[in-house]
Symmetry: C2
Subunit: 256 residues, 2 copies
């Protein structure tokens, strides 16, 4: 049985030394998703000519910023799989070292894997929307990862999202208990979606925002939260989803 509701596929074409190279992938998984490259299944293929070592290097770097940055339920599976295969048929000079070609390949890989990771988070069990949290102004990448993941995995943030509730307090609370150090009085927080953009918090204090506009923004299928902690120049992006009645239906009620 699968609880996936949509096919998750993505592909790009790019050019290497005049040769057109193709890279495409598919993933499956919607519950027990908090990958630590452990029910997630991802297969990406390319016709790029690239050595096994450079392929592994690209995959290892990529996964940290894509699949390991999504969470549906904070339950890491025992068997996540990310397979990356290349057959070399594009005819480009074999990539066997770092450099411009490798960077181009990694960019294409990142485009496909980020697309697939977002498809998974947005199709989380019972989810009605994709939540993207961009944490910027961090002192280190680790700090940015810790805070952004703490926000997307919070059940209270996820239920607030399900209710289209601009509950910035739950977001700041999840940032605080993440263990990362930051000054709450330096925090700026902006929500955005296809319905517009709205600053909820400026220097740690709630703005006099329109609840109606906030609700409209949060009612969209993709919601982004930008948080700036004004400590440095590092950033990280994490993806999650709302926590709804349907998640309970899928995981508690399926035997009744």
């Amino acid at each position: 049985m699968t609880t996936d509701t949509i096919p998750k596929e993505c592909a790009v074409e790019f050019t290497l030394q005049g040769k057109t190279v193709r890279l495409g992938g598919m993933t499956k998984g919607s519950g027990m998703i908090h990958p630590n490259m452990a029910t997630m299944l991802c297969c990406i293929t390319t016709d790029c000519a690239i050595t096994k070592e450079m392929l592994q290097k690209a995959l290892s770097a990529d996964v940290k910023k894509t699949f390991n940055m999504i969470s549906v339920d904070r339950d890491t599976s025992t068997n996540d799989t990310y397979i990356l295969m290349a057959n070399g048929l594009a005819g480009n000079p074999v990539i066997d070292r770092e450099g411009e070609d490798f960077d181009t390949f990694c960019e294409a890989l990142s485009e496909v894997s980020t697309c697939l990771a977002k498809l998974m988070a947005g199709d989380g069990e019972g989810a009605h929307k994709l939540l993207e949290v961009v944490l910027s102004g961090a002192e280190s990448h680790e700090q940015a990862v810790t805070i952004s993941k703490s926000v997307i995995t919070s059940n209270l943030v996820k239920t607030a999202m399900a209710g289209n509730d601009a509950n910035w307090g739950r977001i700041l609370c999840a940032m605080g208990y993440s263990g990362a150090q930051f000054d709450p009085e330096q925090v700026d927080l902006v929500i955005s979606s296809a319905a517009g953009e709205l600053a909820l918090v400026k220097n740690g204090i709630a703005t006099d925002f329109s609840e109606e506009l906030a609700t409209n923004i949060l009612s969209q299928k993709e919601v982004r939260v930008d948080i700036d902690i004004h400590m440095g120049t590092e950033s990280a992006t994490a993806w999650g989803c709302d926590l709804t009645h349907e998640y309970i239906d899928i995981n508690a009620d399926y035997r009744s």
Copy 2:
């Protein structure tokens, strides 16, 4: 607004050097409960004669095994409070050092605070039952704490509990992703409640258990899971609750 559904009170009497000493407490809180002595409110009073230093020592040791071992939603609050007050009216010789009297006091405190901690976990927002996880056979207390807390905070374990589903796989999965090291082939797992006791896993392999009996056991208001990892003699107990539709109602739907 509070989402507590019951008053949470507990008291004991004990004897110190021939004097009757009383110790009682109250707590409130049902959401944003994953205390790290930060919405939880707990006040315990006693007429025991005891110095401020020894009172703090008793509290600091106690909280690690009681309130810091419960979780409703894994969302640590910004303002948990645990107050312990003593007025000395019992007339016992003032406790000002470690020893038999201090141990007696700590036992009484543990009885009351454990009772209050369980009342909070069982009255978690939307909860239908209290889940107690006892992890034994650990190499260290930290290992036992890490594994037991990983199990009680798993959304998939909590929804399985809501569905009265003997889903031992989700429990072993949460143990595995806790980060603690153990041999899955050495794990024994037993569930119990007022409806009986049942071994689900022996040496890492599912027993041929009765699904009907398992469902009956899990349908009770208090469910216990005993897990033995056969590595040592340390143990820890953590308390949580099931994750239900009512949790979503309380935290997502209250504005609609």
